[in-house]
């Protein structure tokens, strides 16, 4: 490229304050969104250890923990199941939830780390509205989670864990009829679980985003595991059905019931079998709106918590 072309390509607007381009309009918004999501995915694919550990974690639970636990815990027939299911089958939606939870907390952690190094500030000096930038960043995190979820489901499929829809649901005009096209099992479940994964991923991501703006000492991932991930994961319906917990402790049952993660897992569990758990849907939706609103408020330049606390260093 000649120097003239270089000068032309990076020249500043000829009149000071002149309009170089317009960031308004749908295409510009789409470009920005695409750029943010693409960066998240690229970064994830380049961090091989993160990809590997994100996959190994649920697989260890599935292959070792669930295999060992199978004889201890009998699962009675509760919706959405219509037959006795193996423990591996029961725990799979919980492990999908675990993938989402770890991914959300990891992206929250990287957000704090980003904030230290300034990459969050690089994002926030973009001329687009802040709610749009933060929402795009969340969707980027969900895109990364989807890669993990479907890789896990593929491996679990070879372990013969797949959604067996009840007979009444299968057939044209039933749950697996997608705009006139009937998708055979188990792929029907892989499609119906998608919106549940996206919604739960967004909800957990919004929670993590809000945490990243409030808590400053998040650098230590062990702390996040102890105080956020483990309590949320164990006090939920991911590993054992809630009625089992009620038998041993009514108080713990209440705690699990008020844990949004329980509802994320149940939303995923029902969606996996082509069904909608209405309570879980509204709880997850409500939490998503609340956490996202709180995160946008916290990052708002005039009202937010950053302004009050002196903001990031550097």
């Amino acid at each position: 490229m000649s120097m003239d072309a270089v000068a032309e390509a990076v020249k500043t607007p000829s009149s000071p304050g002149g309009q170089a381009y317009s960031p308004h309009g749908f295409i510009a918004y789409f470009n920005c969104f695409r750029g943010i999501v693409w960066r998240e995915v690229l970064r994830f694919l380049h961090q091989r250890e993160r990809f590997l550990s994100a996959l190994v974690r649920p697989l260890v639970w599935l292959f070792i923990f669930a295999a060992g636990f199978r004889q201890v815990l009998g699962i009675s027939i509760i919706p959405p199941y219509e037959t006795y299911v193996l423990y591996e089958t029961y725990v799979t939606p919980g492990l999908l939830g675990m993938i989402l939870l770890f991914n959300a907390m990891q992206s929250s952690l990287s957000m704090v780390y980003d904030r230290e190094t300034g990459a969050m500030r690089t994002l926030l000096v973009s001329p687009f509205p802040r709610w749009f930038l933060l929402s795009s960043k969340l969707l980027g995190g969900v895109a990364v989670a989807l890669l993990q979820v479907y890789t896990f489901l593929l491996l679990a499929y070879f372990w013969e864990i797949e959604p067996d829809w009840p007979a009444w649901q299968i057939g044209v005009g039933q749950g697996d009829d997608f705009f006139g096209i009937t998708i055979p099992p188990p792929f029907n479940g892989y499609i119906t679980v998608l919106p549940a994964i996206v919604m739960s991923g967004l909800m957990l991501g919004a929670l993590a985003l809000f945490m990243s703006s409030v808590i400053r000492q998040l650098e230590n991932f062990a702390g996040v595991m102890n105080f956020v991930i483990f309590p949320m994961f164990f006090a939920s319906s991911a590993l054992y059905p809630l009625w089992k917990i009620r038998e041993s402790s009514p108080l713990l049952y209440e705690i699990c019931w008020f844990n949004p993660f329980t509802h994320a897992v149940e939303l995923i569990r029902f969606a996996f079998y082509g069904q909608l758990n209405v309570t879980a849907f509204f709880v997850v939706l409500g939490c998503l709106i609340f956490f996202l609103g709180a995160a946008i408020f916290a990052y708002n330049p005039s009202k937010g918590l950053i302004a009050r606390r002196g903001g990031p260093r550097g």
Partner: protein
């Protein structure tokens, strides 16, 4: 010059800060700060660590809002017209902000996307910007493999992608060796001179200042002097900029070069 014309020329400064104060709890970080960066000028913001430089940068980049006074970029108020103001602003933060695992080109096209540019236009501008800082042959390499000075040059290329009228640089030469420092400074001076960009260069290193620069001395949140470099020496009755700085701030700072 009548008042309206004066108003007009003032509002077209690359950066215009008027009467800005900011406090965190009891700490007064900025106290009635006013300064301007004319278009095409290289303006040095000289101050020690803790003088309020980073707070000022946070306000101009709208990490949080100024509660008093006005800040405008090429006449656009950052609070009332944030989109128009941020569109005209390029920033190099003190911390390294490139993704080490991504290539130079991927880092730059990400930034272009943040300003709403499409894929092919982003790529075209990114390659041209890398050429400007002499790193176009390394476009496909990971940032991890660059030296500190090269990474800074990539960040300068990055903040030029959306053709800003104002460049903010927050202590951009910290941690660089002498050769890299000189090349970074000369690239930025060149941008100010040939592209008509207003540059605000925050530093505590006096040897980065040239006689033709404009200078703003910030200390404990207050502007002690704003004007030309010879004017500063005269104002403080000192022979050198470092003597003038010490006389104004009343400090004996060993770190001042």
């Amino acid at each position: 010059m009548d008042a309206s014309v004066k108003q007009m020329s003032q509002s077209l400064d690359a950066l215009n800060v008027r009467g800005v104060s900011h406090r965190f709890g009891k700490l007064r970080a900025l106290d009635d700060v006013s300064l301007s960066v004319p278009t095409g000028s290289f303006t040095v913001l000289l101050g020690l660590n803790g003088a309020g430089k980073s707070t000022l940068f946070s306000l101009v980049t709208r990490l949080y809002d100024n509660t008093s006074g006005t800040i405008s970029i090429l006449g656009r108020d950052v609070r009332r017209q944030p989109t128009a103001a941020l569109q005209r602003l390029g920033v190099v933060f003190q911390a390294r902000t490139l993704d080490a695992d991504l290539s130079l080109l991927q880092n730059l096209t990400y930034h272009a996307a943040l300003h709403g540019l499409g894929a092919s236009e982003s790529k075209r501008r990114s390659i041209a910007a890398l050429e400007l800082v002499g790193l176009s042959e390394r476009a496909g390499e990971k940032v991890r493999h660059l030296s500190g000075g090269q990474a800074r040059r990539v960040e300068i290329a990055r903040c030029m992608l959306h053709r800003p009228g104002l460049l903010l640089l927050d202590e951009p030469t910290v941690g660089l060796d002498i050769g890299s420092r000189e090349s970074v400074i000369s690239i930025v001076r060149e941008l100010a001179a040939t592209h008509g960009i207003g540059v605000l260069w925050a530093t505590h290193l006096i040897d980065e200042i040239e006689n033709t620069d404009r200078i703003v001395v910030l200390d404990k949140g207050k502007v002690l002097y704003a004007g030309t470099v010879p004017g500063l020496r005269e104002h403080a009755g000192a022979d050198s900029v470092s003597d003038a700085f010490r006389a104004l701030t009343g400090t004996t700072q060993p770190e001042l070069a």
